[in-house]
């Protein structure tokens, strides 16, 4: 009898409330598709409440993520561009894109493995210094030497 009642509650409210009830006498049915909508409604309610109470979130992290992907795609496009049209503009764009892509990439590695406020600050400061020197060096190479595109061409012509 109780089993029928439990099965009945599955039909009315979906599977999730079943788990909150302490006496489970029947195994939950495979719930028919339309009843699965209800758990999502509950989830939506929780998220809506959190939006009311959560601190004013900044979109900085999300925008950074998007910028990383945009830069990656840009860098991908620069490959064939550099091959078919080597020129100073490509040299300097490549210098900037490579340095920034590497800077953000290593930044993620540091975020994953470095913990503790001072260590994080030190590591990021070191990274900033490294990236600055890298960009400076690449620009110096582009200005005073053969440039990135020509350098790769010469290296490969061996």
């Amino acid at each position: 009898m109780a089993a029928i009642v439990r099965l009945g509650s599955v039909c009315r409210r979906g599977v999730k409330p079943l788990f909150y009830q302490s006496t489970l006498l029947a195994r939950p049915l495979v719930v028919p598709h339309k009843y699965q909508e209800q758990p999502y409604q509950l989830t939506a309610k929780i998220h809506a409440s959190q939006a009311l109470y959560a601190g004013s979130g900044s979109k900085a992290a999300s925008l950074h993520w998007t910028a990383e992907r945009v830069l990656s795609i840009l860098l991908l496009a620069m490959g064939p561009a550099a091959y078919f049209n080597p020129c100073p503009a490509i040299d300097y764009s490549l210098a900037a894109a490579l340095t920034l892509h590497g800077h953000w990439g290593i930044g993620q590695v540091l975020t994953d493995y470095v913990h503790g406020d001072t260590k994080i600050k030190l590591a990021n400061a070191g990274l900033f210094l490294l990236s600055t020197v890298t960009f400076a060096g690449l620009c110096y190479f582009n200005y005073n030497d053969v440039g990135i595109c020509k350098a790769i061409a010469l290296l490969w012509s061996k």
């Binding site: 992290a61 992907r69 913990h115 890298t134 400076a136």
Partner: protein, 158 residues
């Protein structure tokens, strides 16, 4: 956040929302608490079964860090070394390294670049939401490995 007697269940859900903290804050708090209590870290790399996607993921990170380091080293060298790029290239030329070793070196340079590029594209596909099913992960993974080797061989023979 107190457990209100579940008379009005919807009220319980509203007050379950935490005070606004960022993900970063939560992660820092977790780390600070556990290191303060001197807790050892649970075994992870030593016990988890290695898989192709796992190895590809860390290799992707490894090639990223390695390539970034190589670019930084190159930029530093450009700033510090007195002579020009063609001079040092001729220096290496004059060492009369056989064609096989040159081909090997070219393959060794091309392989991390192509692997990082192709797996980067695979990552971008994931960012678009595509290819998450396990068979797809393995299929795209093997494709990346195959393409990387083929591309590197082709570039080495150029």
């Amino acid at each position: 956040m107190f457990l209100v007697p579940c008379v009005a269940r919807s009220v319980f859900y509203r007050h379950a929302a935490p005070m606004g903290t960022t993900a970063k804050d939560e992660m820092n708090k977790f780390w600070a608490k556990n290191s303060k209590l001197n807790r050892p870290m649970s075994p992870h790399l030593t016990i988890y079964k290695w898989s192709v996607p796992m190895v590809m993921s860390i290799t992707f990170r490894g090639t990223g860090v390695g390539l970034s380091g190589a670019i930084s080293a190159f930029a530093l060298a450009a700033l510090v070394l007195p002579e020009s790029y063609p001079y040092y290239l001729d220096l290496i030329h004059s060492l009369s390294i056989g064609p096989y070793l040159i081909g090997l070196a070219k393959f060794g340079l091309a392989l991390p670049v192509s692997f990082h590029t192709y797996n980067g594209i695979r990552h971008l596909c994931w960012d678009l939401g595509k290819g998450f099913r396990i068979p797809e992960v393995y299929r795209t993974g093997y494709t990346v490995i195959g393409l990387s080797i083929i591309t590197s061989l082709a570039l080495a023979y150029l």
